[in-house]
């Protein structure tokens, strides 16, 4: 029995040792190179004038603080060259994700849905299979009004599905990498 008691003490002492060495090392903070914090859509009037920039910024990623969303005001009966830019601003230096999308253009497609009457978005760029991508677009307005413009980026959509090539998202499938909505006023 004495042997056993000694053994029990040993067990208790060793477990106390374990407790004192309990502090966990600092974790390595992962490099979030895939993260997109910011989407900017620059709308440059085709016939000159003021550039409008729509932006969505969520520097701390999913959860936490709410993103900052900035809409814009467009002129009626106008055409704008739309240019999308995707950034990861949580890294220093800032990471340009646009390049990554461009490199995998055949696996990505942007879709634009608007509730503003008359506002249309058409593709001005293509991937290697001659299917639209959507980093570059032509945005046209007709009458005055207001509403929302939703920009969606799908990863691995069915680019051959019906309507997808003309920007109809219904049959696109794939994963949503980006889905942001801007308030738009046309005056």
């Amino acid at each position: 029995m004495k042997k056993i008691s000694k053994f029990t003490y040993l067990l208790i002492i060793s477990s106390l040792l374990v407790i004192t060495s309990c502090s966990k090392d600092d974790p390595k903070i992962p490099n979030e190179e895939e993260l997109i914090t910011t989407l900017k859509m620059t709308l440059t009037p085709v016939s000159g004038g003021n550039t409008v920039t729509l932006s969505f910024k969520d520097l701390d990623g999913d959860g936490g603080n709410s993103p900052v969303v900035t809409g814009g005001t467009l002129l009626r009966n106008s055409s704008y060259n739309g240019k999308l830019e995707l950034l990861n601003e949580s890294e220093t230096p800032i990471d340009d994700i646009t390049k990554e999308i461009l490199a995998e253009a055949d696996e990505h497609q942007f879709f634009f849905q608007s509730t503003v009457s008359g506002l249309s978005v058409t593709y001005s760029d293509n991937d290697k299979n001659n299917k639209p991508l959507g980093l570059a677009t032509l945005v046209k307005t007709v009458g005055a009004g207001s509403g929302k413009l939703t920009v969606t980026l799908r990863h691995k959509p069915s680019k051959n599905a019906q309507g997808v090539a003309t920007g109809d998202i219904t049959n696109a499938g794939g994963e949503t990498d980006i889905a942001v909505t801007f308030d738009i006023v046309v005056q």
Partner: protein, 774 residues
């Protein structure tokens, strides 16, 4: 002269030999008794493999063999509704044997620690027998367990499933693999336990408050996966089981070899492979799985006083997740919900497993010493180490699909010293001291902020259980102290990111009391009550981020209180007549500060759109229910089993139902033995039987519409059909089984399967099992 000598035989068999010296006129006499009622069992077949002689027990349970030569013999003991047993006998003298057979399945049973020590404490135990495990060798641990009343599974498609016992799962349900609390990421509802059921000889579910001696935070229910002691037989024995399932074209191969003696060893290996499973009308893309497991068990016995055991096991799996269930934001989820056929469904079968998938490895090493100071007084010491590696892969941009989105390493180390003594008269004390150390780390290779943080935790526990048996009554009192330390290093979401540390200390006191009354072995009533405290787990406190498993953003709450549970159970087993047994188990559990993942009223906006937000919250919970089962044996040929499970869960603070509770269900089965024993072309057939089963799962109506993305699926009923037989040719024993699951190819969705949002559940599956023993 009769010298009583205890020989260790395989589990459940104790025999007393008396010694005489003769040759070829040796007599073997014996009696077979029911383990639970202590009454003799009639019509038990005792078959000697070497001489092909057989004998049946009479009404007094007695049998006799005459004119045996001295030598080594293998016997097969079979009885209707009992699991057949094997006995090895080194015959040197006239011998008399007492067999105890475990007759029929039980809600109330006895737990065997090993061949010698029978626990005398009050527990409500249900057992899955080895033969059932073998017959379902194509299934996972959770799916096998689902056959017990009150046990359900939480699934994420066909391959990923975890058990839920009386409404408790994950952090609240302890799983002991060969005596060691299973470590790993058990909190996740989409994380299956990393255990190969084919290594186990029995799987037991302990319900109620009597599970105090086991370490680990649990609210009363424990699952025990127990490989048996290696049998005493000094010859090499083995078993090969092959199964094929048409759904998923799934095959599994298991090989087991063992050799007894003073130095005994057993090795068990399993390979499983399945491709895409299918629903009644389409393939479920990317739902295949792979598995490769190996376990080695070595035992050494010193003078029948000191027993040592080394157990090593490795479990490795890759599990595909339905491609169409990998949705982005809430809009995509809503769209997926409205679809008849999930996105990405293909017309052809495929074996490849792409992202989304899980790759999990679990390794266990255990060393155990058991020292008997006397027959009623022993020490049991165990040390065990575990390593768990979990990598989950999502569909990602830029070739990152091959980089895990979640990559966790967990090491844990357990040491345990137990002591048990039986004082006179029938007063037993069980006590023990345990420590468990866990180290959990994320690999930053993911490029994603981790969902759960890095941490270390230590648990120190001690317990004492005193039980007293007097005539037909048993009383029991138990107490457990545990001290819990968590050291956590989280990464903040500030810019720039920093490390934030938390140090938590919890003290948990658990206490139970039980009483059992056995009226003439006809009516056994067991009552138990217990107070159990469980401290919040790491994921409940600190998880933060997008959890693909729940398609939402999950946020821990740092100031959660421990859960305090008060559980009462009542088990009644009534043997109405020789042929009718009724068993029921009722429970009532109040959990103050019940921790659950509460859907929040707000949506969280991210660059990928809006996601539902879930936060860990506390409430006062209440669960009550009943599991009932009736078994009727008709003329020893037909066995009818009726089972019913009911559970009601309520969130008392908010006056709403508790979410994630299993649906009520009934199960009816008929097993008919066409022929007990016949010989054909030199092949002996025994127990040629056929069976049908019908299972009805009610709709989970105890839920309000706002508590889920969609209404719970409607009720469904499934039928299955099976036929099996055992063949013996010389010393070769073969078992054949044929089974059809979901016989009518019914389309259904189950409330506890997360894939119910996206796809139908599994369609018809034709299973064949072939087993050969030597």
């Amino acid at each position: 002269m009769f010298n009583k000598l205890i020989i260790f035989v395989i589990l459940n068999l104790v025999c007393f030999g008396s010694l005489y010296s003769q040759s070829c006129t040796t007599v073997i006499k014996g009696v077979v008794i029911d383990l639970h009622t202590n009454k003799p069992l009639e019509s038990v077949s005792i078959f000697n493999i070497e001489t092909e002689k057989s004998s049946f027990t009479d009404s007094l349970g007695q049998f006799e063999f005459r004119d045996f030569c001295t030598g080594n013999y293998h016997f097969l003991i079979r009885h209707l509704a009992c699991e057949s047993k094997e006995l090895y006998l080194a015959l040197t003298k006239d011998t008399s044997i007492i067999f105890t057979l475990e007759h029929s399945i039980n809600l109330l049973g006895t737990v065997y620690v090993d061949g010698r020590a029978i626990e005398k404490t009050i527990k409500n135990v249900q057992t899955v027998k080895q033969s059932t495990i073998q017959d379902y060798s194509n299934e996972s641990l959770s799916n096998i367990l689902e056959q017990l009343p009150g046990v359900n599974t939480i699934k994420n498609g066909s391959g990923i499933s975890k058990p839920i016992v009386n409404g408790l799962y994950g952090n609240r349900l302890l799983i002991l693999n060969n005596g060691v609390p299973q470590s790993g990421q058990q909190w996740g509802s989409d994380h299956s336990p990393e255990i190969d059921p084919l290594v186990a000889n029995t799987i037991k579910v302990v319900k109620g408050a009597g599970a105090l001696e086991y370490m680990g935070a649990n609210l009363g229910n424990v699952i025990l996966i127990e490989p048996a002691k290696i049998r005493a037989d000094p010859h090499l024995h083995g078993r090969t089981t092959f199964s094929y399932g048409s759904n998923g074209r799934a095959s599994s191969l298991n090989l087991q070899l063992e050799q007894g003696g003073t130095f005994a060893w057993k090795i068990n290996g399993t390979l499983k492979k399945s491709g895409d499973r299918s629903s009644p009308s389409y393939f479920l893309r990317n739902t295949g799985s792979d598995e490769a497991n190996l376990a080695l068990q070595v035992e050494r016995n010193f003078n029948n006083k000191l027993f040592t055991e080394i157990y090593l096991s490795t479990f490795n799996t890759t599990l595909g997740v339905l491609r169409g269930s990998h949705v982005g934001n809430l809009t995509d989820l809503t769209e997926a919900l409205s679809r008849q056929v999930p996105f990405f469904t293909e017309d052809s079968y495929s074996k490849t497993i792409d992202a989304p998938k899980q790759r999990v490895n679990h390794h266990l090493a255990k060393f155990r010493i058991k020292y008997f100071r006397s027959k009623s007084d022993w020490f049991d010491f165990t040390v065990a180490g575990q390593k768990n590696v979990r990598k989950e892969f999502d569909i990602r941009r830029g070739l990152r699909s091959e980089i895990p989105a979640l990559s966790l390493y967990q090491y844990s180390f357990l040491s345990e010293l137990k002591y048990q003594i039986e004082f006179e008269p029938q007063l037993t004390l069980k006590t023990g001291f345990q420590t468990n150390f866990t180290d959990n780390s994320n690999d930053s290779e993911t490029g994603i902020l981790p969902l759960i943080p890095d941490y270390r935790s230590v648990e120190l526990g001690q317990y004492a259980i005193l039980s007293k048996k007097y005539k037909s009554q048993t009383w029991e009192l138990g107490i457990r102290n545990s001290y819990f330390v968590q050291n956590v290093a989280t990464i903040t979401r500030t810019i720039p990111k920093t490390i934030e540390r938390f140090d938590n200390k919890f003290y948990n006191l658990n206490a139970t009391a039980g009483w059992s009354y056995d009226y003439q072995n006809k009516l056994v009533t067991t009552l138990s009550t217990g107070y159990i405290k469980r401290n919040p787990a790491i994921n409940e406190l600190y998880s933060l981020g997008l959890h693909q498993g729940v398609s939402g953003i999950e946020e821990g709450t740092v100031d959660l209180n421990p859960e305090k549970s008060w559980k009462n159970t009542m088990a009644v087993k009534a043997i109405i007549s020789k042929n009718i047994t009724i068993e029921s188990f009722a429970y009532y559990q109040r959990i103050a500060d019940y921790i659950f993942l509460a859907p929040q009223n707000e949506l969280q906006l991210t660059i990928r759109g809006a996601f539902p937000l879930f936060k860990y919250d506390q409430t006062d919970g209440r669960m009550y229910g009943v599991d009932a089962q009736t078994i009727v044996d008709i003329k020893e040929r037909l066995s009818v089993k009726l089972a019913y499970s009911y559970l009601h869960g309520r969130d008392l603070s908010n006056n709403v139902p508790l979410i994630g509770m299993p649906s009520n269900n009934t199960s009816t089965s008929f097993d008919y033995i066409i022929s007990k024993d016949f010989k054909w072309l030199g092949v002996r057939f025994d127990n040629l039987d056929v069976g049908v089963n019908h299972r009805y799962v009610f709709r989970q109506s105890n839920l309000l519409p706002f508590q889920d993305f969609t209404l719970p699926p409607p009720s469904y009923q499934l039928s299955s059909l099976k036929a099996s037989t055992n063949l013996t040719y010389k010393t070769q024993k073969i078992r054949l089984l044929f089974r059809i699951e979901n016989l009518f190819n019914v389309r259904f969705r189950d409330y506890l399967n997360r894939q119910r949002y996206f796809s139908d559940d599994l369609g018809r599956n034709i299973v064949m099992v072939f087993q050969s023993k030597f």
